[in-house]
């Protein structure tokens, strides 16, 4: 139901009374119907599903979301678990579930920090 990908509008034209655009998906280009984004402009990013732009992609919001992920755990890294820090510094590879600082059901020691919901 939901395979939709973001692409950048290269050109826009009216064809048979419909707003069509050539959209660039990082090198792959496809004609897309933009009738549902009437004020679409070249350079805009749109989300495309089965040949139709269904919504604009808000670039600032995308960047803000990624930044919020970067900021997650900043406090954790300052006050976090000593063993895990040592392991990382020793270059012990960590794959699979991340370092467990407590058994399930206990709050991790020394990592209580306010949750920043964005």
């Amino acid at each position: 139901m939901c395979l939709a990908v973001p692409g950048r509008v290269l050109t826009r034209e009216e064809r048979d009374g419909t707003t069509m655009a050539e959209v660039d998906f990082g090198g792959v280009r496809k004609d897309v119907c933009c009738q549902y984004i009437p004020d679409v402009e070249t350079g805009d990013y749109v989300i495309v599903h089965v040949g139709f732009a269904i919504q604009r992609l808000d670039e600032e919001s995308a960047t803000a979301t990624l930044d919020s992920f970067e900021r997650l755990g900043i406090l954790e890294e300052e006050f976090g678990d000593g063993f895990a820090l040592a392991a990382r510094q020793a270059g012990v590879p960590q794959v699979g579930p991340p370092r467990q600082t407590a058994q399930h059901g206990e709050k991790p020691q020394g990592t209580a920090q306010p949750e920043t919901t964005s």
Partner: protein, 369 residues
């Protein structure tokens, strides 16, 4: 792809996973509604990386899985008729009807074509004025605007040899139906991000309230899924049940007004039978009276078809998260991806097909991590 690849960043995924692990203190059952989300979870191995206490229940948000058997059989009948070019998304070609699938019809001489967009089908109709071109219009609210616009264009451009076999289904009624089931175990939902790109988030607060479940609008890339799960767990752990938008770059509260206007023009709400689940009132869309002439069911006068679902298939219970695929007696025996009895074993994100792969790995005890 820009604004896509960044949302697979492994370091950021690790941070999100750490937060989820820290926050989870109790078992939780979360349903991801959309088949695309299920696909992403499996494809990236996300459910192996989440805390063991979190159970992701794969929801019925997969049009392949829930398109009613009757409609599949009608599609097969229409596709087999001479003079018809039957166009479909690739997803539907292997879905079993009562006794065949579109691949089988193709091999028997039916002109069945895979297209990327319904507009490709319209183009075929223009290029083949002596043939009847039918497009299989399945999908959730995400896909409906594309189908609506195509029919609207057909009318405007006077393309009379085009018709739509419609089987649209709606998410909010499905959520309600799932929560109404007495054996329901779902405690929270990841709502389908691209459905909400079209429809907005307004239909969800009443559901969150009525059933006391968090509903977090979630995207599809690994970081999006993890963020959706993180916010859901935060709510569950603190006893909240609100609607949150964890996919703000693609979802606005009001959705896409132009698309919604077209949808209410071209479609009208109808009762819809969800394969394996049963009839959910007011859970689907069909063409409105103004566009009835483009309805393939009417145009081809496909008589009421006798459908015969496999007697042993329990995909409905799987779709509602009531049983796990391996709890079905036919799982891995009569029913495998090569010999599917129901749609959940066909679709690449169907729960049964997904389980089939995982169970095999568990059985041979592969080293993990």
């Amino acid at each position: 792809m820009k604004y896509l690849d960044e949302f697979s960043n492994p370091e950021l995924a690790r941070k999100l996973l750490d937060r989820i692990h820290e926050a989870t203190t109790r078992p939780w059952a979360i349903m991801e509604v959309c088949g695309g989300q299920t696909h992403s979870i499996i494809r990236h191995g996300i459910d192996q990386l989440l805390p063991e206490q979190i159970e992701m229940i794969h929801g019925p948000g997969c049009p392949v899985c829930v398109t009613p058997l009757e409609i599949i059989d009608k599609a097969l009948e229409i596709a087999a008729r001479p003079g018809v070019i039957f166009c479909s998304f690739g997803d539907m070609l292997r879905v079993p009807g009562s006794s065949a699938d579109l691949f089988r019809i193709k091999s028997a001489g039916g002109d069945v074509r895979v297209v990327y967009s319904p507009l490709d089908a319209l183009k075929l109709a223009r290029e083949n004025p002596d043939r009847q071109v039918v497009f299989f219009g399945i999908g959730f609210e995400t896909t409906a605007p594309a189908n609506a616009m195509t029919v609207y264009q057909a009318r405007r451009l006077g393309i009379e040899n085009f018709s739509l076999l419609v089987s649209h289904v709606l998410v909010p009624p499905a959520i309600a139906a799932i929560m109404e089931a007495p054996t329901c175990r779902v405690q929270a939902f990841l709502a389908a991000g691209h459905v909400c790109s079209v429809m907005g988030t307004g239909e969800y607060p009443p559901l969150a309230e009525k059933y006391a479940v968090p509903i977090v609008v979630t995207g599809f890339e690994p970081l999006d899924i993890l963020e959706g799960v993180r916010r859901t767990v935060m709510q569950l752990e603190s006893g909240r049940h609100q609607v949150e938008n964890a996919y703000p770059r693609a979802v606005l509260a009001d959705g896409n007004p132009a698309a919604k206007a077209m949808l209410s023009n071209v479609f009208e709400v109808t009762d819809r039978t969800w394969r394996g689940i049963g009839m959910i009132p007011a859970s689907g869309w069909r063409l409105s009276d103004a566009y009835r002439e483009f309805d393939a069911e009417a145009r081809f006068d496909v008589a009421s078809i006798r459908t015969a679902e496999s007697a042993v298939c329990r995909s409905g219970e799987v779709l509602q998260g009531l049983i796990k695929p391996n709890e079905c007696a036919a799982f891995g025996r009569e029913c495998t991806p090569r010999n599917p009895l129901g749609a959940t074993m066909v679709s690449s994100e169907g729960a049964c097909a997904a389980y089939y792969l995982y169970r095999r790995l568990d059985l041979v005890a592969a080293p993990r991590g």
